[in-house]
């Protein structure tokens, strides 16, 4: 197969790198070119020109958007029609065809929240040296979907952070940082209903077990987009959590970093880890398609 070599030679004169985000990146060395398919790149860039706002494009428009010649744009578009990824319109323009759904979209959608999040949790655990967890609301409880525990150097397997109990564990929402973030971002009627289902028990030395205080705490969590738990679930542990949003912009999960108070007090946990925590939650939100987050 040598189609790339043929396509590459032709494409070099098409004026790449004019600053359009749809155009290919800076010129590569010949060694890099051998490891790269400019034809595929151009095909992907061409498909990406079509959006809900720009559903139909002609060869001239595509050529202008991609910074290539009209005949090249036409040749690529024709090939993509033949392959079933574009279709011709009555006005002799092009539009995406349903064939593009076969280019990994269903496979991407089938990836579960845990699989999307796991690399982010590992990275955050590595950066913080603490235990990191991801939770979703499951009625009045938090379901821990994933947890990554950091290991301390020299003591293999030794935990530095207070864990959330492991993947699959249910935790009370009212006294965990994860749960507070999730409750805080619910519509108020749902927040009231779920709180009314809870039996607020003093599980730790500082558990908030008054409904009035819990509501005030949740307002604060929502305002700062940060939840905390300071010996509320368990004596000697503290944690902070940030919201994770989906493509609708709603909060669908929360990400936490937890520590034993012997390692870090809550103030120090916040000071050292709030930035990496919120940054990771933002990147995960972007991955889930949140309109307010960027990768």
């Amino acid at each position: 197969m040598n189609g790339d070599e043929q396509g590459r030679g032709e494409g070099d004169s098409d004026g790449r790198g004019k600053g359009n985000s749809n155009q290919a990146g800076p010129a590569r060395s010949s060694r890099e070119e051998a490891r790269y398919s400019r034809v595929l790149e151009r095909g992907l860039l061409l498909l990406a020109c079509f959006t809900g706002e720009r559903p139909e494009l002609g060869a001239s428009e595509l050529a202008q958007m991609l910074g290539i010649g009209r005949s090249t744009a036409h040749r690529f578009a024709r090939a993509l029609v033949e392959l079933g990824y574009l279709q011709r319109t009555a006005s002799r323009k092009y539009r995406l065809s349903l064939g593009v759904l076969d280019l990994g979209m269903a496979a991407f959608s089938a990836i579960g929240l845990r699989e999307h999040a796991h690399p982010h949790l590992r990275e955050l655990a590595r950066r913080s040296g603490l235990t990191v967890a991801l939770g979703v609301l499951d009625g009045p409880q938090v379901l821990v979907v994933d947890e990554v525990r950091a290991k301390r150097k020299g003591r293999k397997g030794a935990l530095r952070g207070g864990g959330a109990g492991g993947c699959g564990t249910h935790l009370p929402a009212y006294c965990t940082s994860l749960g507070k973030v999730l409750l805080a971002h619910l519509p108020s009627d749902w927040q009231d209903e779920l709180i009314s289902e809870m039996k607020l028990l003093a599980l730790g030395p500082k558990t908030i077990w008054s409904v009035r205080e819990l509501r005030a705490e949740l307002q604060d969590v929502r305002a700062h987009a940060l939840g905390s738990d300071d010996e509320e679930l368990l004596a000697g542990t503290c944690a902070i959590a940030a919201p994770v949003r989906d493509e609708s912009g709603d909060v669908v999960a929360a990400l936490s970093v937890a520590a034993h108070r012997g390692v870090l007090e809550l103030d120090e946990l916040v000071k050292r880890n709030v930035a990496p925590l919120t940054d990771t939650a933002q990147r995960l939100s972007a991955r889930l398609g949140s309109p307010d987050a960027s990768l």
Binding site: Q6, E10, L40, V100, A106, A107, S109, G139, S248
Partner: protein, 257 residues
């Protein structure tokens, strides 16, 4: 035809063939990533496409660079966010699903349940949007379904509702509007899910369906209808109104043009 023109024509045909072949292989590689097999290694891709590992590497590097693939911990490849964005662009051209998003979001907020928008595509139900609920048991219902997922018509409440609407329209027994029935179906029994769906009409032709999915253990069909029928009907009415408004807007634009 002169010799030089002939040579030029031959070079052009060769470039066209080369472009086509490269696109065929490159996009063929991306199409191998399916819900059934979302993760691939270089050697497996090479064997499947019957090309050398170095050729596959060139394509995966390109797709990786452009955000269509990403690498897992084990240096394997899986689809990345750009695949979903490209798919959403075509779904948006197929059906104005962007107008449905705030309505689905409100329905999820109101019910706490997983809500979806689906259309018929041949013999399949194609999901355009799916938002996971937060009530007890909803998360565990998620079985790898999302925007772009397909199921058989008889497997989902949405499919039955859509078939029902199409039948009504084709029989022309009744005006298409506001006559849709709520459909309850233990949609995918193997996942323990119960579905409630409502067909939504768009100018009496291409139709969609809104679906609410709950854990089958949480309520029976009668309870589902009683508790969630009203919010689903409200969402259906809101979506039909939004679609009508969109259609009016399109007609107005056409008149101006």
């Amino acid at each position: 035809m002169s010799a030089s023109a002939s040579t030029g024509s031959s070079a052009s045909a060769s470039a066209t063939n080369g472009t086509f072949r490269s696109l065929e292989y490159g996009f063929g590689l991306l199409a191998l990533f399916t819900p059934e097999r979302p993760v691939w290694g270089i050697a497996e891709l090479a064997a499947e496409l019957n090309v050398s590992p170095s050729t596959v590497h060139r394509y995966t590097t390109t797709a990786l660079n452009r955000g269509y693939l990403e690498q897992t911990d084990g240096r394997l490849y899986r689809p990345a966010r750009r695949c979903a964005e490209l798919g959403m662009a075509v779904l948006e051209t197929l059906w104005p699903s962007g107008r449905a998003r705030p309505i689905l979001r409100e329905l999820r907020r109101r019910t706490g349940r997983t809500v979806s928008l689906a259309v018929l595509d041949g013999d399949d139900v194609l999901y355009l949007q799916r938002l996971c609920g937060f009530q007890r048991g909803q998360y565990l219902l998620e079985q790898g379904l999302g925007a772009g997922s397909r199921l058989g018509i008889s497997e989902t409440a949405a499919g039955v509702a859509l078939a029902q609407v199409l039948q009504e329209i084709s029989s022309r027994k009744t005006p298409w509007s506001k006559r849709n029935e709520l459909v309850v179906k233990d949609a995918a029994r193997h996942t323990g899910a119960l579905g409630l769906a409502l067909g939504v009409n768009r100018a009496g032709e291409a139709s969609g369906a809104i679906e609410i999915t709950v854990p089958a253990a949480s309520m029976d069909g009668a309870q589902l209808l009683e508790e969630l029928g009203e919010p689903l009907r409200d969402a259906g009415a809101a979506l039909e109104a939004a679609l009508d408004a969109a259609l009016d807007g399109e007609k107005a634009e056409e008149r101006v043009a």
